[in-house]
């Protein structure tokens, strides 16, 4: 009966898998996420080379050498060493791990979140600030900003710099790939690209207080013309993003998507500097040197 239950459960589950869900990680919408997906499938397949034989042996040995087996089978209570066999099962995992290790080394570099993506299009810079409990996106070169919605031009690399004015949070768009932590006083980097038009959900993956589960945003990948018209409309928006507005939205709360006209190009750095003050001595001109250090930390 238990076996039957399991089978029914698995079949039901399989049905659900096929019919209703969208697997953002396995159905990627960008080059980075695509490479990560193929890596996942490659690593999974190569491990099956060991796992499947293990499961077969487990079943066969368990059945064949059971105490109640009436057929005469070999029983050798003292047999406990075999150099060749042991060499085989040290050897095969070592070969598999060698292959995986090489792949790991290469992909850790090619898929390094800090690495700029190869593309003919000039990248769009987006500064991301995690707040309690919403995401602020600043487009410093375009003079616009938004909360919890992230319009991006399709087929154009996006260069994110990411910080926080909140407990440690993490920025993740599963359909585009690679998440990275957002931390106070620090600036992380991430490079992503969307290769088709659409709307994709984005999440915070690190617990940062009460509103954590609601700290979601939407990515809208648009053709250039639509993206430009969004930028235009945001520039004309009555909502202005300046220090005052930032202060207001930094209060713990959840928010819907909103666009802003960007009034202060230096907001992102100001948020980072807020956390640097405790270390800066107040008598010299250390602000500039601190800022210099902070920018260097991006490479960390």
């Amino acid at each position: 009966m238990l076996v039957a239950c399991t089978v029914i459960a698995l079949v039901t589950l399989g049905y659900l898998l096929v019919h209703s869900a969208h697997f953002d990680v396995l159905q990627p919408a960008g080059a980075v996420a695509k490479s990560e997906k193929s890596l996942l499938i490659f690593a999974f397949s190569i491990m099956m080379l060991v796992v499947i034989p293990v499961f077969i042996m487990l079943a066969v040995f368990g059945w064949k050498y059971r105490a109640g087996n009436n057929k005469k089978v070999d029983y050798r209570p003292e047999w406990h060493e075999h150099k060749l066999l042991e060499a085989i099962w040290w050897g095969i995992p070592i070969i598999i791990i060698l292959i995986l290790a090489t792949t790991t080394w290469i992909t850790a570099h090619t898929l390094d979140p800090y690495r700029r993506l190869d593309s003919k299009a000039a990248p769009v810079n987006v500064q991301v600030i995690a707040l309690q409990w919403k995401w602020l996106f600043i487009y410093p070169d375009l003079g616009v900003a938004s909360v919890n919605e992230l319009p991006v031009p399709v087929n154009t690399p996006i260069h994110f710099t990411i910080s926080a004015d909140a407990p440690m949070s993490a920025f993740w768009i599963p359909a585009l790939g690679t998440q990275i932590y957002a931390m106070n006083g620090m600036s992380s980097q991430l490079n992503l690209i969307a290769d088709h038009v659409g709307a994709f959900p984005g999440y915070n993956t690190n617990i940062n207080g009460e509103g954590y589960a609601k700290m979601k945003f939407n990515v809208y990948s648009k053709i250039d013309k639509d993206f430009s018209s969004w930028v235009e409309s945001a520039r004309k928006s009555p909502n202005m993003m300046d220090e005052q507005m930032l202060q207001k939205i930094s209060q713990p709360s959840t928010m819907d998507g909103t666009s802003y006209m960007l009034m202060d190009n230096n907001l992102y750095n100001k948020v980072i500097m807020k956390y640097m003050k405790g270390t800066a001595s107040d008598k010299d001109n250390s602000t500039t040197s601190m800022q210099h250090d902070m920018l260097n930390m991006e490479g960390m």
Partner: protein, 655 residues
């Protein structure tokens, strides 16, 4: 009048408000009152005090560890049920069964309780029960320290559960990353409860680690060289090395965090020069070895069980030892894989990823060795062996997803999602929990003189296995769909069925646990019919040479060892009855109340720290120091049983 100096920051607003926590806050004290009433009615207080609370007998301490851990398992699974009930109804337009704050406290306490008070508790239970018997000694190296360790563990356990009644628990997850757990974001007592319960229990664990390390080094029976030790003992030895290196890091990092919170320092704050990334590194420098601390004894247990129930010598003893040592070594240089997404460079990520994968090699070799122990054996599928089979399947799946997570560029897409949650439950439930339950079933007759009911045990194993698959396979899928961990609500309707299946899975696991509780109750009731001989499984190692239940002195005559599986070969050659002249005087440690009192004082002192009652902190601290000095001055901590009396008791037990 101002009472603050007396009661610190306690006030009535810290009483619970949610119906579910109020229920617990009323239910727990009522249960305690009921137990106290029963003890009074049956006049058992004296028995409890003399035979259990003041005991320094490792077997009894082991049984107490096990009992606490099983009660905590029930609490932890109830937490899991709350979490998965909420996610089952938390879809778009769904409802909150309880508020988010409570939900976040529940997943934090679920993690803390399952790791510290269930897994660690069961592990110490098994160390205490099996190690002295397996190495042919009468007790651990430091019996009094052993009692102190247990009562510190107990104090930590009361703190976690006490937070339900007064003050609430941390919301920061089981490892409590700052700055969320710093004063700036969490000024209340919850994080302090979390810190001090871990701190007190952690110090207990460190002391136990030292104790068993020394026990194995110094107390082995004559002739038992390292390469003649049972593999379980080997696994405990490498585990205790990990404990002695890793636990001070936990103590240190928690101490720094508590200095931040108590004295406004800035080790891990975002401002004032603090750096939370330092904490993340430190806590995982302990946290990663910690998971190996839990799983390596389980590996040892499987090695004993597979050999015993296949009635065959363990395949590749030397390889098993090498594999254990390799895992021990590598487990210290992989911690960064828990935060590939914190922005380290590609070289660092790649290094730690590759080191992590390397651990898969010795682990895989162990699996092959178990398989080839079964090969050409005569396998009896008693319930411990069923648990092993469930382990072999479940743990292998967990290993595969573990290697996936070890590739940084894959981890970037599944880190902190339910895929990760599914992975570590896969290895911890499949590896650790199944192993420890198997071990309890295996050694139960040695402790109590009767078996656990086999049918109920097997039923429990099947329910656990099916429940596990139902709970966690959907979580892998959800992770790949983008569901992150620790959510109480979500807006994608297609996630709902997966969360419902997962909740059903928890219920099925709950049925498995119900089978186990029933199994224990039924077996106690039918203990005459389930009577066990001294060697019920036809075992291979020394513990099966003493009567069941094992006498308080373990061995009337200390055995001599000349090979691995000494008892197995002695049986084949014919066990010789001891001569009267073989019996010698036995020296054993006396019971003492100091262990209990020190533990309870540590509880009071921690409570005082949580509530900022400074005078009580000072008093408790001084009291503990004074008690340690008093105990050290006591020269009469042992007593002697004359040889004649030993002989009489031994003959009676063997009759």
């Amino acid at each position: 009048m101002d009472w603050q100096w007396l009661i610190g920051r306690m006030n009535l607003s810290y009483l619970p408000h949610e119906p579910i926590t109020m229920g617990a806050a009323i239910g727990m004290p009522l249960t305690l009152v009921a137990i106290a009433a029963a003890l009074t009615y049956f006049k058992k207080w004296g028995y409890l005090w003399r035979e259990w609370i003041t005991t320094v007998d490792a077997k009894r301490i082991g049984i107490m560890y096990g009992s606490v851990a099983l009660i905590m398992l029930a609490r932890g699974v109830f937490d899991a049920l709350m979490i998965r009930s909420q996610t089952a109804v938390g879809g778009p337009g769904g409802s909150q069964l309880f508020n988010t704050d409570t939900y976040q406290q529940v997943f934090t306490s679920h993690g803390v309780i399952m790791i510290f008070f269930v897994a660690m508790g069961l592990m110490f239970a098994l160390f205490n029960i099996a190690v002295p018997l397996m190495i042919g000694t009468r007790d651990v190296a430091f019996p009094f320290l052993n009692a102190v360790s247990f009562w510190l563990f107990f104090a930590g356990m009361i703190l976690v559960n006490g937070s339900l009644i007064f003050g609430g628990f941390s919301i920061g997850g089981w490892l409590g990353y700052p700055p969320l757990t710093e004063l700036q974001y969490s000024p209340g007592p919850g994080v302090d409860y979390w810190i001090w319960s871990l701190q007190v229990a952690g110090i207990g664990s460190l002391l136990s680690g030292i104790n068993f390390f020394v026990t194995i080094l110094k107390n082995r029976a004559p002739g038992m060289t390292f390469m003649r030790m049972p593999i379980f003992v080997w696994s405990v030895l490498v585990t205790t090395v990990l404990m002695m290196i890793a636990f001070p890091i936990l103590t240190g990092s928690l101490a720094l965090l508590s200095l931040d919170r108590l004295m406004g320092m800035h080790f891990f704050t975002s401002m004032g020069g603090g750096n939370p990334m330092m904490y993340v590194n430190l806590i995982w420098a302990w946290g990663h070895p910690e998971v190996y601390i839990l799983v390596m004894p389980a590996f040892g247990i499987y090695s004993e069980i597979v050999a015993t129930f296949s009635r065959k010598k363990l395949f590749g003893y030397k390889t098993m030892v090498i594999a254990l040592i390799a895992i021990m070594f590598f487990s210290f240089i992989v911690w960064q894989h828990h935060f590939f997404t914190m922005g380290s460079g590609a070289d660092v990520n790649a290094f730690f990823g590759i080191m992590t994968m390397i651990i898969a090699i010795p682990t895989g070799v162990k699996v092959f060795n178990w398989l080839f122990t079964m090969y050409r054996g005569r396998i009896t599928f008693a319930s411990p062996m069923i648990w092993f089979m469930c382990f072999a399947v479940t743990f292998t799946i967990g290993g595969v997803t573990g290697v996936l997570l070890a590739v940084p560029a894959i981890d970037f897409q599944v880190h902190n999602t339910l895929f990760l949650v599914a992975h570590f439950h896969n290895v911890i439930i499949g590896g650790v929990v199944f192993g420890y339950i198997a071990a309890i079933t295996y050694w139960f007759p040695k402790m109590f003189g009767f078996h656990l009911h086999e049918g109920l045990g097997k039923a429990a194993a099947y329910f656990w296995q099916v429940g596990f698959l139902l709970s966690f396979m959907p979580l892998y899928a959800l992770g790949l769909m983008g569901a992150v961990r620790r959510l109480d609500n979500y807006s994608d309707p297609s996630w709902i069925p997966f969360f419902i299946v997962s909740a059903v899975g928890v219920v099925v696991v709950g049925i498995g646990i119900a089978c186990q509780l029933l199994q224990i109750a039924y077996s106690i009731w039918k203990r005459k019919e389930l009577h066990a001989t001294s060697d019920p499984w036809d075992g291979r190692t020394l513990e099966w040479s003493v009567p069941s239940p094992a006498p308080f002195y373990n061995y009337a005559i200390i055995p001599e060892v000349s090979r691995v599986d000494e008892w197995w070969y002695q049986k084949q050659e014919g066990v010789k009855a001891p001569k009267d002249s073989d019996y010698k005087d036995i020296v054993l440690p006396k019971n003492t109340s100091f262990g209990f009192v020190i533990g309870m004082t540590a509880f009071v002192g921690s409570g005082a720290l949580i509530w900022h009652i400074w005078w009580l902190v000072v008093v408790s601290f001084i009291a503990i120091v004074v008690m340690i000095i008093m105990r050290t001055m006591d020269d009469f901590t042992e007593y002697t049983i004359p040889a004649a009396e030993v002989m009489r008791m031994d003959k009676e037990a063997r009759a």
